[in-house]
Amino acid sequence: MKKTLLIAGVLAMAGLGAAPAQAADEAAAKASCTAAEEARKMAAELKFEWTTTQPLIAKGMEAASKGEYAHAVKLCDEARMQGEAAVAQAKNQADAWRAAVVK
């Protein structure tokens, strides 16, 4: 009886903890995908967006919708890094292209 009560208690506590943990994971995935979308938009405004970024964000959002939050964060973080790299590429090329001109 004591053992049953103990198990029930542990399960109840785990259940209570699971809901906030899930909410935190969901929020992290959402934040990651929002940041990725912002980086992608910035690259697009500079006309330097990569074709690989949007599909990663779409996959990340899909993973989040299925509750696969860790996978969503991984995908969207990769997308954000791509967006940031594209922005850095645009800024770098704003001057660097001149060195490549045939002279």
Binding site: A44, W50, T52, Q89
Partner: protein
């Protein structure tokens, strides 16, 4: 004093490098390809990659006996001559009735302050006469453009840069051409200048000189005709850069720069390519 002198000399050097005139650019561009492929005559670059690939050139000559763009030429001629609903035709919109004028495109329109392309004016003609514009990358517009290019074969490209705004558009196109973009970090020039003649998988990279002279083209890969902006779109995608809109300002300026580099070369469109 020494520091000021160094700064002034440095600034002059940078300015000199940055602001070569279009004619200096074109001369350097031509000279580059003369040195890179010493056995190829400049006028042969209108044949694209076939100018630097002898075995492929022989095959291409065979293909040209029954060119795959022939159907597009027939369609283009028919479309060109068929009156719009209001009774007017494309001939009413262009100088010389639209015949033999390909070599003058793209040009800088002083009134709008924009580069104008042939495909753009084909659509403007349609809209002016109450018709819907055509999609820019393939289909009927490529056929009409192909027919107009065909009537201009042998005429020499003569792209002009009439004022400072035009020069800015040219410089903008030049910047696009030499800027690395996409996940693969390649510029147009990386493939078609610095690595022209090299193999990329099973294909030889074509030289940039003469590139726009043979468009629109029938590409075996597409199994279809396509405009120059369709090719820009494809090139951008190949380096994993999101393509920009066909006939948008960036691609029109790019066409302006690239065609200027081929000034003096003959119109050879439409072409047949792999």
């Amino acid at each position: 004093m020494k520091r000021i002198l160094t700064f002034v000399l440095g600034a002059a050097l940078v300015a000199g490098l940055a602001w070569a005139t279009p004619e200096e650019d074109r001369a350097a561009f031509t000279e580059y390809f003369k040195k890179r492929f010493p056995d190829v005559a400049v006028e042969d670059y209108v044949n694209g990659v076939y100018s630097i690939d002898k075995p492929a050139y022989e095959q291409w000559l065979q293909i040209e006996e029954f060119p795959p763009y022939e159907l597009a030429l027939e369609e283009g001629k028919e479309l060109f001559e068929t009156p719009f609903a209001n009774g007017k035709t494309y001939a009413d919109c262009f100088p010389n009735g639209g015949m033999g004028i390909r070599q003058n495109y793209p040009y800088f329109d002083i009134e709008t302050g924009q580069v104008k392309t042939l495909e753009q004016e084909i659509n403007e003609c349609r809209v002016k006469n109450g018709e819907d514009p055509l999609p820019y990358k393939k289909g009927k517009i490529a056929s009409i453009s192909a027919y107009m290019a065909y009537t201009s074969r042998g005429n020499k490209f003569d792209v002009q840069i009439p004022n400072d705004k035009a020069l800015a558009a040219y410089e903008n196109g030049k910047e696009f051409y030499y800027s690395k973009r996409g996940q693969l970090n390649f510029s147009c020039a990386d493939c078609h200048v610095g690595n022209s003649g090299m193999m990329i998988r099973a294909d030889k990279l074509s030289p940039a000189l003469g590139h726009p002279t043979h468009f629109p083209v029938y590409r075996s890969k597409w199994n279809d005709m396509g405009t120059l902006h369709r090719r820009f779109d494809g090139c951008n995608k190949q380096v994993r850069a999101a393509p920009l809109p066909a006939q948008g300002e960036e691609y029109r300026n790019l066409e302006y720069f690239l065609t200027y580099m081929s000034n003096g070369m003959e119109v050879n469109g439409p072409g047949a390519r792999k």
